[in-house]
């Protein structure tokens, strides 16, 4: 974990309220893995006070020194962030938390397929996973993108360039099939030969459904969760979710430290 003054490499608008920011931080880039996050202090002022957690969206190739965050302007913090310019300095802590785990490629076997299910901003950490799974993990990847409208379908060009299988659904039918993304997932699962793992990130009701579907099909499932967070390092105990333990007991665990990626079947969704 590092606390570094990063430099803004770029900060582009990529949709109506969506932005992508590139930050130069070799220490973070070299130790980060897909699914981990960073805590950004968007300004040195006292309001907004707390750092903001963001998934690492893209970890640049080994020879590079910067990483990307995909974010949506939703309040004071992200509004300030969207006004940052190339060359500005910004205080970032990371990489934090436990990311996705990609199963090793078994010798002498064909590539396994994994499913990535995203609702809206859910693609933020899943893109890093897709990139890493294709390039380093030798996996086949199918991505399921869901959103309210076509404007919430993000990273389409990047995913196409990566050469992964893409399924799209929007609630208003403005892009892909009309409906929710979990319907697409269920349809795809009709085809025999299950994926090795389903990875998901998005709103809680979607994650709940994905978890249920994967459980019924006996497919391992990892979900990346979001929570209100103050410290990001396991000290404040503010970001807990309920986790199932053996023997039917439950406990609160920190999203920041034990997550943000969890075994979906161990999460007790609200």
């Amino acid at each position: 974990m590092f606390q570094v003054e990063t430099e803004v490499v770029f900060n582009h608008q990529v949709g109506p309220s969506y932005y992508k920011i590139g930050l130069r931080a070799p220490e973070i880039v070299h130790s980060a893995s897909p699914g981990q996050f960073v805590m950004v202090r968007v300004s040195s002022k006292l309001d907004p006070l707390l750092r903001r957690p963001f998934s690492i969206h893209r970890i640049a190739k080994k020879d590079s020194v910067s990483f990307e965050i995909l974010y949506k302007v939703v309040g004071k913090g992200t509004e300030i962030m969207s006004s940052l310019r190339q060359g500005d300095g910004i205080d970032v802590m990371g990489p934090l938390g436990k990311g996705f785990s990609i199963l090793p490629h078994p010798k002498d076997l064909p590539s396994q397929i994994i499913y990535l299910v995203s609702g809206g901003m859910g693609i933020a950490p899943l893109y890093a996973l897709a990139e890493s799974a294709v390039i380093d993990g030798r996996k086949k990847v199918a991505v399921f993108l869901g959103g309210k409208t076509k404007e919430d379908i993000l990273c389409l060009d990047d995913l196409k360039r990566l050469g992964v299988e893409i399924h799209i659904s929007t609630e208003d039918g403005s892009l892909g099939s009309k409906g929710v993304v979990t319907q697409l997932l269920e349809e795809r699962l009709q085809i025999p030969s299950n994926p090795e793992v389903i990875y998901a990130c998005g709103p809680i009701p979607m994650l709940k459904k994905v978890s249920l579907i994967s459980q019924e099909c006996h497919i391992p499932c990892q979900v990346s969760l979001e929570a209100y967070m103050a410290c990001g390092v396991g000290a404040c105990l503010g970001c807990v979710i309920k986790k199932r333990l053996d023997k039917g007991t439950e406990t609160y665990v920190n999203v920041c430290k034990e997550g943000p990626v969890f075994d979906a079947h161990a999460v007790k969704f609200p």
């Binding site: 907004p48 929570a227 103050a230 396991g234 970001c239 807990v240 609160y252």
Partner: protein, 314 residues
């Protein structure tokens, strides 16, 4: 810097000697290990660990955190591993540093307080206790003891009889007369007082009309509460003779100096740790630089030097 003589930063709080007056506030620095990547723990004046109860507590339902202008509300509910697991799993790491470790202890009954104090009193590596009689986020115990002078007296007296270790009592600002509570705590045998704990507060989501915290109410901390904390520290140091440790909204060295000038013997850094993990170290450096700039050789000459009338500044 070599041209200057380094000023003395060490202070004493009761019988406790600290290399500098900067402590970490309970609940904001975990058990130290969470921040070990960012902070050299040996450089801290003291470390006060998360509120510890007799048995493990699972805490309140989420959401537990909400940001407010210049502050944050929390309703963690004293989630902690319990005293036995603390000794077994958390203390060994803390023992590897020269910095004094104080354990913030919490009970639902007086018996629980004394049992924890006697269990921890037998253990090597603990320099003292901070008695939590001011947590606003739990159903039983805690703040119940901290809002009434007679109850505060009883619990402090009972713990005092159990242990000879340094005993500091953390007071709640959610009272009408902080001085009467402080006097009571002193009479019961406390070595020091720390204040303030969080101020109870609330926030509502106007779309859903629900409280933003799972526990409905929570405790406000951060820069928003600093003026209140400072005023209460001043009231207590003016009327009660035991040392006071100031806490509440200290974000940087300037904030820390305000508390020291008012008369706090030491300070605690809380919410600031979340925003800047190095806040404690930055504050220590900032205080030192201030003393050099002002030609003050010993921090003890600054403590309590509040100039109340014109010309009284030495």
């Amino acid at each position: 810097m070599n041209d200057y003589k380094k000023p003395n930063l060490s202070v004493t709080v009761g019988n406790l000697s600290l290399k500098n007056p900067v402590m970490t506030a309970s609940g904001t620095f975990g058990y130290g290990e969470e921040y070990a990547d960012f902070v050299d723990i040996n450089k801290l004046g003291a470390i006060i660990v998360k509120g510890t109860s007799l048995k493990a507590r699972c805490g309140n339902p989420p959401p537990r955190i909400v940001e407010t202008p210049c502050g944050m509300l929390n309703s963690i509910g004293l989630q902690n591993v319990g005293v036995k697991a603390f000794i077994r799993e958390k203390l060994p790491f803390l023992r590897s540093f020269s910095t004094p470790v104080m354990v913030n202890i919490f009970g639902e009954t007086i018996d629980e307080y004394t049992t924890i104090a006697s269990e921890l009193g037998r253990i090597h590596g603990i320099s003292g206790f901070e008695l939590n009689i001011s947590c606003p986020n739990v159903g039983a115990g805690g703040i119940i003891f901290g809002v009434d002078p007679a109850s505060a007296y009883k619990v402090v007296e009972a713990v005092r009889k159990t242990t000879n270790l340094f005993l500091m009592v953390k007071l709640s600002p959610n009272v009408t007369d902080i001085v009467s509570i402080a006097q009571s705590v002193k009479k019961a045998g406390a070595d020091a007082i720390s204040l303030i704990n969080t101020i109870t507060g609330m926030a509502i989501d106007i779309e859903t009309r629900r409280p933003k915290l799972g526990n409905i109410t929570g405790g406000l901390s951060g820069p928003a509460i600093k003026p209140i904390a400072l005023r209460m520290v001043w009231e207590v140091v003016s009327h009660v003779s035991i040392p006071v440790v100031g806490v509440g909204g200290i974000m940087d060295w300037k904030d820390a100096l305000e508390f020291l000038i008012v008369g706090a013997r030491a300070i605690q850094v809380g919410t600031a740790n979340f925003i800047n993990p190095r806040a404690t170290l930055d504050i220590i450096d900032g205080i030192e630089k201030y003393l050099i700039d002002k030609g003050i050789e010993d921090i003890n000459n600054l403590i309590g030097s509040l100039a109340l009338s014109e010309g009284s500044l030495k």
